[in-house]
């Protein structure tokens, strides 16, 4: 089967809805193809004494899987999301307070961590928390022939040799977080980063469009 270079480098359809839950301070749902994640943010709010940090806000991230209790995989994802958010948030503006981010996986069809990151960023934006930059998540998969697939579906992820997820910041398109699975060469890594940086432009444009639409006066 011949794989066209251009056809694998696509992002599936995006969808996003902000402010869809009434109780949290910020909420969003982000859909990438069939993958869908719902995010809610509370904060800045009162913090428990044992979690208090004297010079910045405490950020807690929780990811709920769709079925079954959360396991090690969720913990690992939580950590990735938390570290990215901590890097982007200006948490020193809210010392001794708590920020909590809850992510609910609604449907997993590949690129789940990237979808979580995007939903988290939209929710943080919706909550109006001060951030130094925005961030987005891009997943690249490298298949057996060495072809790079952006935003892979679950099936594509399964058939691939390596899966790499990057968080890219909006200011300088730098890599804020990376997590990889499988084996790949240095060259492939650099190619994936370059692809992700290019893809992030599309995602940030989408962020911009959706926020613009949200604050526009007409539909």
């Amino acid at each position: 089967m011949e794989v066209d270079v251009q056809s694998t480098l696509t992002l599936r359809e995006f969808g996003c809805e902000q402010n869809l839950l009434s109780r949290p301070d910020g909420s969003s749902s982000f859909v990438q193809g069939d993958s869908s994640v719902l995010a809610g943010v509370y904060g800045p709010a009162e913090v428990k004494v044992n979690k208090e940090i004297y010079d910045r806000a405490t950020l807690e991230v929780v990811i709920h899987p769709k079925s079954g209790p959360p396991g090690v995989r969720e913990r690992a994802r939580e950590q990735c999301v938390r570290e990215t958010c901590e890097a982007a948030l200006l948490s020193s503006l809210h010392p001794r307070s708590s920020l909590s981010l809850v992510l609910q996986v609604v449907h997993d069809d590949g690129s789940l961590l990237a979808c979580c990151l995007n939903a988290a960023c939209m929710a943080l934006m919706d909550a109006g928390l001060p951030m130094g930059c925005l961030f987005c998540g891009v997943t690249c998969a490298i298949d057996q022939e060495g072809q790079i697939i952006t935003d892979p579906s679950a099936q594509q992820e399964k058939n691939s040799r390596a899966v790499l997820t990057f968080a890219i910041d909006s200011a300088q398109r730098r890599v804020m977080m990376s997590t990889t699975k499988g084996s790949f060469s240095v060259n492939e890594l650099q190619q994936c980063i370059a692809v992700s940086q290019k893809a992030s432009e599309k995602i940030f444009q989408f962020y911009r469009d959706s926020v613009k639409r949200r604050y526009s006066k007409t539909l």
Partner: protein
Amino acid sequence: MRETPLSNCERDFLLKAIQEKKRLEGRQTYDYRNIKITFGTDYGCCIVDLGKTRVLAQVSCELVAPKESRPTEGILFFNLELSPMASPSFELGRQSELLVKLNRLLERCLRNSKCIDTESLCVVSGEKVWQIRVDVHGEEVTVYSADERDPIPLSIYHMPICVSFSFFLQGTYLLVDPCEREERVMDGLLVIAMNKHREICSIQSSGGIMLLKEQVLRCSKIASVKVSEITDLISRALENDKRVRKEGGKFGFAESIPKQRITALKSDEAAIEMTDMEEKAEGIISSTEPPSEPVPSPVVRAPGTGQVGESLENAWGVEQLEEEEEDSVDHVMDEGQEKEEEEEEESQYCNKADVVVISDSEEEEVVVLHQEAQVDSKQQVSGPQQPGTGDSKKKKKKKKKPVQ
């Protein structure tokens, strides 16, 4: 995080409104909130919106050994979670009273009413049965009116639907389907689970209110009307989902994002143009230094002995060396400037304390070298920017110190 308490004003307002037969959302006493049912791309997955309450349910199954007491029956397991997303007062991993209550309600309503044919889940008697697991995530819980249906043709005998009633002022006033605010001021709650054949599957009364027989009967009458409405809605939604799946059209949550809402946006599939990707990657790699060659075979003195860093490149002193280099470059590059700065700094130093302590540190060496110049520079004391330069210089010195 604790829940925000309800103020007395709000409480009085709500109760007064109820006495005047008005509700906060403009509903009538017996009105239900809007129900919206969305199915996911997986089988056995749905999101139900009841007003602003939103619940996600997923049915999954696995093969397990049956219970010893019932070797021919499958196991139906409910796992209810109150996600902290729904309310900040919900904590993770804590069995709150509400959680237990709702879980029990689900079990009684769906398992104990035998609405699912558990015997049909048996694969090998006494060895293997399907365990059906229902995960319910409360996402925006204000009140729980649960209904569960399994699009996998699980044989379902009947669909019990729960309808909740709340009582105010010791049972004087009754509301159907209370919202979160109303639940917080109510005295008692009655949940009736009923199927469309008007059979009551379970009744749960909480809040410790005394109910009259007439009240319960009235509630059950109301429930029967609501249940038939909701059953209709569910079967219509199921049929719709089935039809769309059959036709191969688009379905799932991605399609359920409302297009007409200003807070929502959907984009089409986007291609990323990547023409220079490979050159770029190679450029980055060629511009970075190649990693140091690994030692082909490390020397092992004797098998089984511990050894440290034998014949490998020593990276311990590298950082210090670099710093020293940097410093020396500094000296060469702007020696003249540095001298001046140092003089100024020293002059300030001298102004503050006239006693010059001579020690063998580098700073003082400089002082000794330029002592004559220093005396002169005492006069030309510092403009407004000089304290700054002095400071930066001091910092630099501090950095240098560990080198020495």
